[in-house]
Amino acid sequence: MSAEQLAFYFFASLTLISALLVVCMQNLVRSIFLFFVTIFSLAAMFVFALADFIAVTEVVVYVGGVLVLMLFAFMLSNKELLSGLQNIAGGFKFTHLAGLLICGGMLFLLVSAISAADVVNLSWIKNGQAISENDNTIHQIGIHTMTRYLLPFEVVSVFLMMALIGAAHLSRRERRS
């Protein structure tokens, strides 16, 4: 097993384990911070797919934006819940069983679909031009953004603005009349 593979599987297991912990953790603050770990290891896996720029963006957006937002929301919404939620009785619930079964079934379906698809031998993956380690992907992304993907880019920016306006509108203080 090469060093690359070793590192990859290390990060992969780190991702999955931390994600599981995030999901199972009863303490909300801890689970939010563990989410942080998941995102970082996920970004590391992006690097293994030679998408360094995406990895950096992922970290910046999630750690810089999403996580902070979540903590804020948590702090704003949990004055009295703070005490109540953190030690919800961890008893086993029916929904847990159902959820577990559904997710297990889903995993089974996805994995069998992946193996049935035999992705490694798809013609466009086998014959397609793969990104090599020496390529300057950031340069490529910059060019693509302004040429081939200009329309999606514009649409995304409009969408983003709509989302921002919507968020601002939703969370504004209600005026007492």
Binding site: F94, T95, I102, G105, M106, L109, S112, M146, L150
Partner: protein, 674 residues
């Protein structure tokens, strides 16, 4: 005149000055909101006129200037914006600014006392700006933008007296009708862009430009960068023509123009006679090389038909402004028809002469209306001061209005020694020469045009004789004040031949026409002799007839209830037809779909909801009696089952999600396993 010769850069700067000054008056006046808007806007439009004249002197018949800057860039596509100065655009610049200046000065006294007068000046400034921009832009995209601005400012001006219901309705109608044309223009733009990849008029339409060098091979229209079936060439031409049709009020999109007479008369004069309606003809002139034979034939037919139809409508109208409006439509039909038969220069020539004499007709009619309105207010009478049946005998009371209007009417009728004679003859003779080479319906074109020009003589004669001859009903009405009448006199001079040609009887020597038609003189054929003589002779007879009919003191009552009379008086019932065809049918459609909605769709939804209610009632009953009974009856294991069944109706999102996913996953696992 060396000191008046400028370099190319200075000329472009001058034309920018001519463009920007009216716009600045728009901004400044809207900011100030004061009534001294008149001074500002007259100063600005004068600067614009001087700049235009300087540009005109330098560019006319000598050079074609085009300067552009990069406007914006999208990906690898770069769009430029710039100025294109050639004979057509400098002529239009001078025409627009000169007539605007005259109308501005006229408006000082005409609009005196209106409370929102500053808005009037501001809108006029906006209009002049957009019209100037339209004529000097070198890019179809820019022209399109200014085209929209022209429509917008005309909307504002038509609805200037927006408290009058009719005025706001008319403004709305004009605006909506113009949207149809904009759609056509836009279609043309898109076709041009996809075919040639540029909006640059210079590159597209110059001799040897992109449109010129595109070829048609095997039914395909092939340019440097693209090749499409040749039908698209026709469609592009027709699309631009639809754009021109609405702005220039051609059948069947002309109905907004007569209604637009609800605006102030000075506005009607500026917009709906001289400049804005000319934008359509101007557009045709700009994209002229694009038209193929089908498009040209369509243009000819529409133009000729419009000219004839509008003339017949004008015969029986009684509102002085409506008569003039229909005569405008008719004259525009002449210009469009001239474009269609390839008489490009003659069409522009008629555009220029028509601008002056139609402006004069409107302003003179405006002065009559203005004076009668004051008379009415002064004596607190109640009558329609625009109805020509109620006028009469004003010849002695308003001599200046009478004389100038007679000159303008003579020009409209195409009587000798006027500018209209030159340009109308030019179109008629060219149409005869053109028809020589064809058979079938094309032979009819010149005859219909001649017939239309005789109708023109009759209705304008009727207007003059009814208004100015006969017995006067109003004692003490005087000519309009000097600031208004001096404008009439200036315009009257411009409506005579000297401005356009030294020889009053032959258009061939007109400097204006020679600017557009190559100098190689056409062979002098029989039409040059016959057409003016016959047309003028019969016109003179028609003038006499109409004098007999309307000029006497005891005006003979013509039968006013014949089928033809009603047909003409109601403008061929076109408004009614449109109302029936579009408004009513759409209303009916929406009523039907509303019914459909309430009865069928809502009914379906309601019955579905009812069904769901019944089902859920059943399930509820089942829950209550069977499951609960079971729970009560059997032990704790059974109670768990009951809990399980109930949890599907918890109202909790996650439970619904679980249910849904269970079904989906189960379904796929089963299909996978089988």
């Amino acid at each position: 005149m060396d000191f008046l010769t400028f370099s190319a850069n200075t000329l472009c700067l001058l034309s920018l000055i001519a463009l920007v000054f009216p716009f600045s008056s728009f901004l400044v006046i809207l900011q100030l909101k004061k009534s001294q808007g008149a001074t500002i806007s007259i100063f600005n439009i004068s600067v614009s006129l001087i700049a235009s004249l300087l540009v005109f002197i330098n560019v006319w018949n000598s050079t074609t200037l085009q300067q552009q800057v990069e406007w914006f860039q999208v990906g690898t596509v770069s769009i430029s914006a710039g100025i294109l100065l050639n004979n057509l655009s400098v002529l239009m610049m001078v025409l627009v600014s000169a007539i605007s200046l005259l109308v501005h000065i006229y408006s000082i006294s005409y609009m005196k006392g209106d409370e929102n007068i500053y808005k009037y000046w501001a809108y006029l400034g906006l209009f002049c700006f957009s019209m100037m921009g339209l004529v000097i832009s070198d890019s179809l995209l820019l022209i399109y933008m200014f085209w929209e601005l022209v429509g917008m400012s005309s909307y504002l001006l038509i609805g200037f007296w927006f408290t009058k219901d009719a005025a706001s309705q008319a403004a709305k109608k004009a605006f909506i009708m113009n949207r149809i044309g904009d759609l056509g223009f836009l279609t043309g733009l898109m076709i041009i862009y996809s075919q040639f990849g540029t909006f640059d008029i210079g590159r597209l339409f110059n001799v040897g430009g992109l449109v010129d060098s595109a070829s048609i091979i095997n039914g395909f229209w092939i340019s440097e960068s693209a090749s499409v079936p040749v039908i698209w060439l026709t469609i592009a031409g027709l699309a631009f023509f639809i754009g021109a049709m609405t702005k220039s009020a051609q059948f069947p999109l002309h109905t907004w123009l007569p209604d637009a007479m609800q605006g102030p008369t000075s506005v009607s004069s500026l917009i709906h006679a001289a400049t804005m309606v000319a934008a359509g003809v101007f557009l045709l002139g700009r994209v002229y090389p694009l038209f193929d034979s089908i498009a040209l034939n369509t243009i000819t037919v529409v133009g000729v038909f419009t000219a004839f139809m509008a003339a017949t409508i004008a015969l029986t109208q009684n509102d002085i402004k409506r008569i003039l409006a229909y005569s405008t439509i008719s004259q525009l039909g002449f210009m469009i028809a001239a474009m269609g038969i390839g008489a490009y220069g003659e069409s522009i020539f008629h555009l220029a002469t028509h601008a002056f004499f139609k402006c004069l007709l409107f302003l003179a009619a405006g002065s009559v209306i203005h004076q009668l309105h004051h008379y009415k207010e002064h004596h607190s009478l109640e009558f329609n001061h625009q109805d020509i049946r109620l006028m009469g005998g004003l010849r002695k009371q308003m001599p200046i209005a009478f004389i100038t209007m007679c000159i303008a009417a003579a020009a409209l009728a195409g009587l000798p020694f006027t500018s209209g004679f030159l340009s109308k003859d030019a179109i008629l003779i060219t149409s005869f020469e053109w028809a020589e080479g064809y058979h079938g319906f094309k032979k009819l074109v010149p005859f219909v045009l001649v017939l239309t020009s005789w109708l023109t003589v009759f209705y304008i004669g009727r207007l003059i004789f009814k208004v100015f001859f006969g017995k006067s009903n109003y004692k003490g009405v005087k000519d309009a004040p000097w600031p208004m009448t001096r404008i009439l006199l200036i315009l009257a001079f411009f409506s005579l031949f000297p401005l356009f040609s030294v020889n009053p009887l032959s258009y061939d020597n007109s400097w204006l026409l020679q600017g557009f038609v190559p100098a190689g003189v056409k062979p002098f054929d029989i039409f040059h002799l016959l057409v003016p003589i016959i047309v003028t002779g019969i016109s003179a007879i028609i003038v006499l007839i109409s004098y007999k009919l309307y000029g006497g003191t005891a005006t003979k009552q013509l039968p006013e209830n014949g089928l033809l009379y009603r047909f003409s008086n109601r403008a061929w019932y076109l408004d009614r037809v449109y109302d029936l065809l579009f408004v009513r049918s759409i209303t009916a459609l929406s009523i039907i779909s509303h019914k459909f909605d309430t009865l069928i769709v809502d009914g379906l939804v309601n019955s579905l909801a009812g069904l769901a209610r019944i089902i859920s009632d059943i399930i509820h009953w089942f829950d209550r009696h069977v499951v609960d009974g079971l729970v009560n009856g059997i032990a704790s294991l059974a109670s768990k089952t009951g809990d399980f069944a109930r949890q599907f109706q918890t109202g909790k999102l996650q439970h619904y999600l679980i249910t849904m996913l269970t079904l989906v996953v189960t379904f796929f696992i089963i299909t996978y396993l089988i």
